[in-house]
């Protein structure tokens, strides 16, 4: 389903893969990159799904959770993802917790992490301009065209027909966590109650898994997120309250 344009025109390869319970858009603008690199990304994403899906009883994560295998028996990827989850759990003072509710579920990090790895695959294949979007978490590498920056729209959680704002940049990761569309699905691990302080929190920074975990944690934190987000070096945040009021870190130009 990849579409390539003919001739010497900068031909983007654009592919959408339904995997990991969401749609992943692979948009390669670098004209030197062939479809093989996109295929490699697609097969990588399916490997991640097979390893980390909590919906598959045979995945390494499910078997680890049931105690059928130990961490030593799992692929390296499982160990590195769980180690990163642990770092983030500490950094978010427990608001990002892959073991909340008694089940091992690192999904909150896996999506961003798999895209980070996909970015590495594309870069290794020679791409210096591509954009990956996994269910609304975006990693935009390089520039879409000379003299242009990537433009990433941030959906308005209260009216999805609108964009609340547009972030422009090169080499940016943009992750949004919100209560839009599926109702409140982020739970404050301290109270067990759904988080309602923000309608959505967007975090922009250099790496997607971290931005993703920060956005999820901030949504659960509610009002306390302001101070916490302001202290994240290298990351900026933009949040929308249920009443439409917006808040942003000082470095987030508005």
């Amino acid at each position: 389903m990849s579409a390539t344009t003919s001739g010497s025109v900068r031909g983007p390869i654009r592919h959408v893969e339904y995997v990991m319970g969401t749609a992943v858009t692979i948009d390669v603008r670098d004209p030197r990159v062939g479809a093989g690199a996109v295929d490699a990304v697609v097969s990588w994403l399916h490997t991640v799904d097979a390893t980390f899906s909590t919906y598959r009883p045979d995945s390494a994560i499910s078997r680890l959770d049931r105690g059928e295998v130990g961490l030593a028996d799992c692929p390296d990827t499982v160990r590195s993802v769980l180690a990163r989850c642990e770092e983030l759990r500490v950094e978010t003072v427990g608001y990002f917790d892959p073991r909340y509710a008694g089940r091992l579920d690192p999904s909150g990090l896996v999506k961003g992490w798999s895209i980070e790895q996909a970015d590495q695959i594309l870069q290794a294949a020679g791409s210096r301009a591509h954009c990956l979007n996994a269910g609304g978490d975006v990693l935009a590498r390089g520039r879409p065209a000379p003299g242009r920056w990537w433009r990433v729209g941030i959906a308005d959680p209260r009216d999805r027909s609108r964009l609340a704002t547009v972030v422009e940049g090169a080499d940016i990761a943009v992750a949004t966590s919100g209560t839009a569309e599926r109702g409140a699905h982020v739970v404050d691990p301290r109270t067990g109650e759904p988080a309602t302080g923000w309608a959505s929190v967007t975090v922009v920074g250099p790496d997607l898994p971290t931005a993703d975990a920060y956005a999820t944690a901030a949504l659960a934190m509610g009002d306390q997120a302001r101070e916490w987000l302001a202290g994240r070096t290298g990351f900026e945040a933009y949040a929308i309250a249920p009443d439409g009021a917006t808040w942003a870190t000082p470095g987030f130009p508005r």
Partner: protein, 200 residues
């Protein structure tokens, strides 16, 4: 398409980020405000920050006051240089200003393309796009999740609004959208495949 395999020199740590510079770095941030749809002429500057060698982000954010980017009307006609010659030094009285004939608009093909059906946790989603040349003029849902009340509610909520989003996002030249989930992603998947089939 030629494939040149390069060794990736850049790693995550070598990233240049374009977001506002934090005040503690002491450097002024690079931020521009532009009207929606207006391209910012700023150029990226590489910065290295002292602590942790993490790149300092810089970015521009275009606030959309109404939320919806204003659609930019694309001219579908090819620009031709006007054939008016430059006036010579000798002044001549001109009684009528010269009118350059307008270039005739090229015929634009209108086509409707159905996207692939995307399976979502709520059921299958399929959209159809109407293209006028390379411009999306309409997006309609052919299949949306039904079956149980919650799914229908979600579908009813997502489809018409995403339709607007797809149209407005295109007109504002948005490369990607952050903050979409399940049903809308299915919708985007199908929309994307319809666009691919249309060769947009």
């Amino acid at each position: 398409m030629k494939r040149i395999v390069l060794t990736a020199l850049t790693t995550i740590t070598g990233i240049v980020l374009l977001l506002g510079v934090k005040s503690q770095t002491g450097a002024p941030g690079l931020a521009t405000l532009a009207a929606p749809g207006a391209g910012s002429g700023s150029t990226a500057t590489k910065r290295t920050s002292a602590p942790r060698a993490t790149p300092t982000p810089t970015a521009t954010v275009t606030p959309t006051p109404t939320g919806t980017p204003t659609p930019r009307k694309k001219k579908l006609t090819t620009k031709k240089k006007s054939s008016t010659s430059k006036a010579k030094a000798t002044p001549r009285k001109v009684t009528h200003p010269r009118v350059t004939p307008k270039p005739k608009p090229k015929p634009v093909t209108r086509m409707k393309v159905a996207g692939q059906t995307a399976d979502t946790p709520y059921g299958p989603v399929q959209v159809k796009v109407t293209m006028l040349g390379h411009r999306i003029t309409d997006v309609t849902a052919l299949q949306l999740p039904g079956g149980n009340q919650r799914s229908s509610e979600i579908a009813g909520f997502a489809a018409p609004q995403l339709r607007k989003e797809a149209l407005s996002a295109q007109s504002a030249h948005i490369d990607s959208v952050s903050g979409a989930t399940y049903t809308s992603q299915g919708y985007i998947t199908s929309l994307q495949s319809a666009l691919d089939r249309a060769g947009a």
